[in-house]
Structure formats: C-alpha cells, structure tokens
C-alpha cells in the first residue's frame, strides 16, 4: 500500500509501542531556547539524569533578548537571569548554543532551516508551538512542553500518538499581491482554528509546489494556529536546492546520498489520506485578521462578519472579539487605524519577507502616528538584508531597524504594545494580550500589508500601493 511521508517518518523513528499503546518516538533533532528550558534542566539535575544524545540538541536565545541594546547584563533582570541560566545549562550539559557572538543567533525556527540543521525525514521537537515551521522541508516537527523537553533531553524520545493526516491542497495560482501568509490565513479561516485538532496537515497542490522554501516555512509555521500540531510539505527540487551548501547540511558525495534518502520519504502518489481539503488559490485576497484568534479574518476589501450569522456556540467568542477590538459587525477592515507596525517573527522574519516589505517601504513614509519596527528573524537575515541595503530603505522611510529576536510577536522583551494600541503585525497570533499589553489589539497580515498599513496609517490594500 502506498505510504505517506508521515507513515514513513513515523515508522523509522518508532523505538517501540509503549504499554499504554502510544508510540515511543525517537526525536532526531531537538532545538531549545531560553524560555521553556530552565525548569527542564532543573528536573534533569534533580533526577540525576544526563543528556542522552548531546549531539542532537542545539540552542539559541530568542524570546527575551532586547532588539536594541544587547549589552550584558540586560536591563531587564529577569531576562538577564534567563540568559544566565541558558548559558550555564548549555555549558554544564555540553550542548552547543548559537548566541550573539556566533553570528548564527536568531529565532529558533528561522535558524534551524537557515543553518541546514532542519532536514527532510527528521523528527524535530522544540519547546515552542511554532516548531511546525520546520515541516516545510519535509520533516515531522512539533512543539512540546517543558516536562517533555526533559524527556527528550533524558531519553531522546517522546510518548506520542500518531495523528490522522489531512492533505490540504491549494489549487490554481495566486494573484499579484497575495503571499504565503495570505494562503495560510485563508486555510485557517476555512478549516477553522480547531479544524486540525487530531490531524497533521500535508500541504500540497500547485500553489504549494511553486512556493519557495521561505514561503513554505511561513505556511507550515501557522499549522498550529489551525489546530494541527504539525504540517509538512513533501521534499522536492526546491527543498534540495535550499539545503545545498548550508552549514549543517551534508556536503559533497554525502549530499547526493542524502538526496536519495530524502526522495524516499516523500508521500507516494497513490497514498490515501484521512481527509482532503481543497482551497482555490486564485480566490485568495490579501487577508487581515479582525478578531482574537487567527481564524477570524477577512479579505482586505471585505467587511467584518456578524456574530448572529455564526453557529450558536461560536457567537459569544465573536462578540467578545468585536468588543475587545473596538470593531462593529459589518464595518470594512480597510481603513482601520493602526498605531504600531511590526515586521518580523518566525512566521515572516526571513530575507524574502524583508525584501517585499522594503519594496512597499520605497513607496512612502511611515505615517506620523505610527511606530514601525523591522525585526530580522536572525543575525544572518539581518546581515544579508544589510548587504542589500534594505536597512537603509527602511530607515529612510521611518521604520526602526532592530536586532534579531522574537520581539513584538509576544512582547517578552521591551518591544510591547502600550494600552489599547492597534498593531499591524506579520506575526502569528492575535490573542488578547499577545503583543505585551493586556488590552492591546493585533491585526495579522503579510509583511507587504504591514508595510502598506505603516505608510497609510491604517489598513490598506497593498495592491493599490504596488500598482
């Protein structure tokens, strides 16, 4: 019987079936960062356990680091304490840390693929829900909690149940001004924020096949926002071209042998899925979220839906969303005034994202009332962008050019919304309080749309600016 990538990768990583009936799954690559690990290392020490395969874990600093002055000690004593713990734990257990001095630091989901650590056919775990990002290269990659981080450190394994598999096919072709972010926001809107619970998503179809690796990373990143713990794209020529020459990818003849294996893990053409969903790529417009979860979105030229038009159990959440956002049902999203613009995050903090935002930034200046931040996803992204002069384009237009980190995606450093500020953000979550202010408001959109909103001072259709 024809098998899927999920079948094959799951099987080859199965250590055994546990007495509970779950799978003991070997984790081939373990990525860690400073926020979700100190307790795990402490549990390890309390149990007098060692790291089982220290060569399979890599760490970086991303969530709490300042994006302005990175001189130690950090101004925030709690951030400093987290960094100190990370350095101490990595040293004590003999694990590599990509800190600022390496030139390889960045958001864990940006640097994994960028360094070639992330490869097809792997199982990848990280104490971070956006680990689903790494599925873009054809890996099974998912987020875990801190006690599970302890398990991976101590045993290189997790107790897991294999999910069902839904193929999400994006048919046709995208139109101009529509990006990978619009594709995944549309998928989440159509399948629902809990549509993927119990499922993994295999993204396929002509739109996905034509995407660059960076675009696929954006799509897979937000799988979790649709309820799917992981999503992946089958490895193909795009994957192989992307990985060739990366520091941790195999080199020389080993690369060719790796390619041979990578090709064998892809889903076979006649494989069956538990479900198939189809999305019309040509119908996708630039998308903007209006509510308090990533499924609450509309096309930029559409109006906000009415709670009364929703199924009964969904109505309270819709009403709560409108109340929090200060919006009314039926109002257009275009023209909604913003206070802050943020381009960055593991969703949209890569070089191609900065390039497209810079194209828009060339068309005007940031509106006077808007605070606009560009935060590269990694030191390498920052370096490449600066080599192209993108930082100057942004600065000339009135955007702040920051250092790499998670920044305003979740407001664990100084980059936060204040009060009820409204943010146009290229990040992944519009949850209440997400961007650092309990009453702050977030509109998710593509980097191009964020740049357009920054210039316009309000939500705008980027296609009108790029025309």
């Amino acid at each position: 019987m024809a098998r899927t990538l999920l079948d094959k990768v799951w099987e080859v990583h199965t250590v055994r079936t546990l007495p509970s009936g779950q799978t003991q799954l070997l984790i081939g690559l373990h990525l860690i960062h400073e926020v979700t690990t100190p307790q795990a290392f402490q549990m390890l020490k309390d149990s007098k356990l060692k790291v089982r395969m220290p060569e399979r874990t890599f760490g970086t600093l991303d969530h709490i680091i300042p994006t302005t002055d990175q001189t130690r000690p950090y101004a925030d004593p709690m951030a400093e304490d987290m960094a100190t713990h990370m350095y101490r734990n990595m040293k004590e257990f003999g694990l590599p840390l990509f800190d600022m001095s390496t030139g390889k630091q960045g958001i864990v989901h940006v640097i994994g693929p960028e360094l070639g650590l992330t490869q097809p056919g792997m199982t990848i775990a990280c104490g971070d829900s956006h680990t689903s990002t790494h599925g873009a290269v054809g890996a099974i990659a998912f987020g875990i909690g801190t006690t599970q981080v302890r398990d991976v450190l101590a045993t290189q394994c997790l107790a897991m149940a294999k999910p069902k598999l839904r193929q999400v096919r994006v048919e046709g072709a995208l139109t101009r001004g529509v990006y990978a972010k619009d594709v995944i926001l549309t998928i989440i809107n159509q399948l629902g924020v809990k549509g993927g619970v119990g499922y993994a998503y295999e993204y396929a179809g002509p739109v996905i096949e034509r995407m660059t690796m960076e675009e696929r990373l954006t799509v897979c990143n937000m799988s979790i926002e649709g309820g799917a713990r992981f999503g992946y794209v089958n490895p193909d020529a795009t994957t192989i071209d992307y990985l060739r020459g990366r520091p941790y990818a195999p080199a020389g003849p080993a690369f060719d042998r790796a390619v041979t294996w990578w090709k064998t893990v892809a889903t076979e053409p006649s494989a069956q899925f538990d479900d198939v969903a189809r999305i019309d790529g040509a119908a996708i417009e630039p998308v903007v979220t209006w509510g308090i979860n990533p499924g609450m979105s509309v096309g930029v030229n559409q109006s906000l839906p009415s709670p009364d038009a929703q199924p009964e159990p969904e109505r309270p959440t819709f009403r709560e969303a409108l109340a929090h956002m200060g919006f009314e049902a039926g109002q257009p999203i275009k023209g909604a005034r913003i206070d802050v613009a943020f381009v960055g995050s593991c969703t949209n903090g890569r070089l191609s994202d900065l390039r497209v935002a810079a194209e828009v930034a060339k068309k005007g200046k940031v509106a006077k009332h808007v605070r606009a931040l560009i935060v590269p996803g990694s030191q390498q992204v920052a370096k490449a962008a600066e080599a192209e002069g993108l930082h100057e384009v942004f600065q000339a237009a009135g955007f702040q050019w920051r250092k790499a980190g998670c920044s305003m995606c979740l407001g664990m450093n100084d980059d936060k919304l204040q009060g009820r500020e409204m943010s146009a953000s290229s990040s992944n979550r519009n949850f209440i309080g997400r961007q650092g202010s309990p009453t702050g408001r977030t509109l998710l959109m593509s980097p191009a749309m964020v740049a357009a909103a920054a210039i316009n001072g309000a939500v705008a259709d980027v296609r009108e600016i790029l025309r």
Partner: protein, 199 residues
Amino acid sequence: MTTTDSKRRQIAGRGIPVTGNDIDTDRIIPARFLKAVTFEGMGEHAFEDARKQNPEHPFNQPAYQGASVLVVGQNFGCGSSREHAPQALMRWGIRAIVGGSYGEIFFGNCLILGIPCLVTTQADLEWLQKAVERAPQQQVTVDVEKQEVRFGDRTIKATIPDGPRNQLVGGTWDSTAVLLEAGAAIESTAKRLPYIVGY
C-alpha cells in the same frame, strides 16, 4: 510521589466553569510570567489579565475557591506550547478538566503532569457548566477509568483516548522512567537513521 499516588483513576472535587471557546494559553498565563526560571508561584497568575479585566471571572469568585475540576468549552488551551499554562492551573488547584476539545500541546502538557482532560458533547458540557454554576459546593467526579463524569444524580459520558487513559489510570503519565526502559533500543533506532549515522 509513590506509584499508588500516581494513578489517576478518578478525581473528585468541586467544579469551576470557564465558558467560551478558543481560550488560548496566552490568556491562561500571559507571556510576562514566563520569564521566571521556575514554575513556583505560577498558580496565583492563572488568568491574571482576564481576572483583572473582569471582576466576575470565575477564578475571582469566592464560591469557586478550592475547586479542582475545571469545566471549559471548545479548543481550550490552544496556541502557545507553554507548560506554564497547565502548571498555573495545577498550582491554583485544578486536578482534572472537562471540555469539548483541547489544543493538542496543552493536552499533552496536562497529561505529563497527570491532569486528565476529558471530552464531552456540547450539550452535556452546557449542562455541566450550568449545573456547577448552580451548585458550586457540590462535588464533581471525573472517572477517567470509566470515562464518565458524575454530578448529583446524573452521569455523562466523557472520553479520553486509550493511550493517555492507560497512562493516567496506570500511573505512568510521568513518562521519563517508561521511556528509559527501552534501553538500547533507543540507540539502535538512532542507528537506522542516515542523518544520525551519516549519509
């Protein structure tokens, strides 16, 4: 904790309803509390911002203090993988959750802490939420083994997948020891992976 103590066959205690769908882990514990390097004291920050914004929030109400069975809606615990969310709930006093569906990472985090998350129908959920609101002093019994929830004279069906149920009932939810039992099979599995042994 002894082996006997770790078995989660059934959990009984007073209930607390938190209604609404898609309550994410940022809502349960805002990110600023993740800057602590331990989970200690996390309980007092459970739903902190939601409680400040809404004095009527169930976690603020005297009637629900001391409750241990949380009754929630659909897709509870979606979003961030932060274990701080179940840690905060657990340290506040929650020992079991009954809801419509859960974010999967949250479900797994609860499991590894020995907190069963059971699923029931929308109709039964609405009934249970209202029943607990009417009688907050009355005991709710979450029977993991029999997959049912009992309240007063009524019993509703509430499910949990076999694997997690076996772990909870058998007391093997804190998985490190079980995973270590695989011994050399871990290394032999690694040895069949070309990216580990070298292409």
